[in-house]
């Protein structure tokens, strides 16, 4: 059964098309990588799914809900069920690790309880569990600006996990990390998918990483979905189609 159904999704920025007629379905529990050159619409796609960007046309159904029709509290509630992690982590650096992780619960709370930072004991327990899962139990009260890049990204993952999401969107999660931290992060994402059954949709710049981790790869070029298949089908020719380069011009060759 499909968890996410994207149909004929189109996004205009002024006159230029960031996405044209994108259609695909993602099954529950899949690990899907999105690749393509800069400006091909990867980020726009991911941000349209949780409505950080409003799509111009088409439809998105997540968990049987018409995402594009939602407003106000209903939209907040739908967003709460989708986790998201970012290239630049986007943590509140002046706050502690656990405070940042608990931000993932805000979508489920009344405005006042969220404003005052009044979290229930279950929520706090959940946050601690998630931090243990990600190997951050020694950093619970550390301020986030004192963490390394890889640790910050793990806090980002923890924040997404306490939302109890069925899907996590990852917007270039390893682009600011060194290779070893990047591997740790990708391994955690795979574990989350395998052990918790959470769907992962991840934007990547590294084709080799996408091939190693994903079960399915979506390739974008100039806003069009030009490849949709398993990593085994992603041969050199297809890669060059996605990146629009002549054979032999890519760094991975």
């Amino acid at each position: 059964m499909a968890l996410l159904e994207v149909e004929r999704l189109t996004k205009f920025y002024g006159d230029s098309r960031a996405l044209s007629d994108v259609t695909f379905k993602i099954k529950k529990g899949q690990f899907v990588a999105v690749i393509g050159p800069s400006g091909s619409g990867k980020t726009t796609l991911i941000r349209c799914i949780n409505r950080l960007i409003d799509a111009s046309d088409g439809s998105i159904r997540y968990d049987k809900e018409d995402i594009l029709a939602l407003k106000g509290a209903a939209l907040r509630h739908a967003r709460a069920k989708i986790g998201m992690i970012f290239q630049h982590y986007n943590l509140v650096y002046r706050l502690t690790v656990i405070e940042n992780v608990l931000h993932g619960r805000l979508g489920y709370k009344s405005s006042i309880a969220g404003v005052l930072g009044m979290y229930t004991e279950e929520e706090k327990t959940k946050a601690v569990e998630v931090l243990q899962l990600l190997g951050l139990e020694d950093y619970v009260y550390r301020r986030c600006d004192q963490l390394s890049g890889g640790q910050k990204q793990r806090v980002g993952i923890a924040r997404a996990l306490v939302q109890d999401p069925r899907m996590i969107l990852c917007d270039e999660p390893i682009s600011s990390l060194d290779p070893s931290s990047a591997k740790i992060i990708m391994d955690y994402l795979r574990r989350i998918q395998k052990d918790l059954g959470i769907t992962i949709l991840v934007n990547l710049h590294q084709v080799d990483v996408a091939k190693r981790y994903a079960e399915r790869i979506l390739g974008f070029n100039a806003g069009h979905l030009v490849f949709d298949g398993p990593p085994s089908e992603l041969n050199k020719k297809r890669i060059h189609e996605i990146y629009g380069t002549e054979a032999g011009e890519l760094i991975i060759d």
Binding site: N50, L52, R76, H77, A78, R79, A80, I82, G83, M84, F86, H88, N90, L91, V92, Y93, R94, L95, E99, H103, G104, L106, G107, Y108, K109, S111, G114, V115, L116, G117, R143, D145, Q146, G156, R159, A160, Q163, L169
Partner: protein, 288 residues
């Protein structure tokens, strides 16, 4: 040979490009210099002996700061002795401090609320422009003028001073606050929106914690400004406090020692505020 320009006389390479604008700036500066010299040469001294005047000035400053003293009757505590005068002066100083504190507090609360609505990343462009335009007008008029404007309705005194000073404080702090909020990384707001957080939750969980030190330090700067203004308001708008005594000592009693006495007190307060501000900053910037 590239087209490097050289000074025709010395043959040295020219680094700065001579432009028409720079030539005009030089001309204006030269004219101003000439006017200044001419002004000093032709100043009307009404027969003042410049040498004697200089000596007198130094002597008066010596009395002012070398022998500071308050007169009991001027502080309304006749026969109380120097300790009585001192405590009376402290009480007046406290009135001035209270005026500064109250106006900073009122201004800060209003500026905080409006500042959130004026920050471009937290509101729409129209609301932001309207609020910012409005407070730009408030800021353009000096604090003293606002006090005098409100004095039309409230009469000269503490009420006009409180309203007028608070008014200008809002204008000043709102700009500072909203710009602090705008410094916040857009991504953090995105992250909280993505997790389903509401506007108020984002404000309290991300915006305020991230900008707290900026807010604190701007508010303190304004408190220092308001203290100075409160002294002046005591003199100019009858707002009470130590400023009024300073005004009386200078313009009515011609008591130079008392001016020195009051100046020392004000200086001490300014110094203490500076120390407190430094301590607060140390405490809150500790991890930066």
């Amino acid at each position: 040979m590239t087209a490097v320009k050289r000074n025709l006389r010395t043959g040295r390479i020219i680094v700065k490009r001579p432009t028409a604008a720079k030539r005009w700036v030089n001309v204006v500066l030269l004219v101003l210099l000439a006017l200044t010299i001419w002004g000093f040469l032709t100043i009307e001294t009404k027969g003042t002996d410049l040498g004697k005047a200089t000596v007198d000035t130094i002597r008066y400053f010596g009395i002012m700061f070398g022998r500071p003293a308050g007169v009991d009757t001027h502080f309304g505590v006749s026969g109380a002795g120097s300790w009585g005068v001192f405590t009376a002066a402290l009480r007046l100083l406290l009135v001035t401090l209270a005026l500064a504190f109250l106006t900073t507090l009122v201004g800060a609360i209003i500026a905080l609320i409006l500042g959130l609505l004026a920050a471009r990343n937290l509101t729409n462009t129209r609301t932001s422009n309207i609020i910012k335009g409005f407070v730009a007008v408030i800021r353009a008029v000096p604090t003293v003028l606002w006090v005098l404007i409100f004095a039309i309705g409230a009469g000269l005194g503490a009420v006009a001073a409180v309203i007028g000073m608070s008014f200008h404080t809002v204008g000043y702090l709102l700009k500072a606050y909203s710009e602090s909020f705008e410094e916040l990384d857009e991504g953090v707001i995105d992250a909280l929106r993505a997790s389903g957080a509401s506007w108020l939750q984002i404000v309290f969980q991300a915006v305020l914690p991230s900008s707290a030190t900026y807010l604190l330090s701007w508010t303190f700067i304004r408190f220092e400004i308001n203290f100075a203004v409160a002294v002046a308001m005591g003199a100019a708008a009858g707002a009470g406090g130590i400023g009024f005594n300073l005004f009386m000592a200078a313009g009515y009693f011609f008591d130079i020692s008392e001016i020195g006495f009051i100046t020392y007190l004000i200086l001490a307060v300014a110094l203490i505020m500076e120390l407190v501000a430094t301590q607060l900053k140390k405490r809150y910037h500790i991890h930066d």
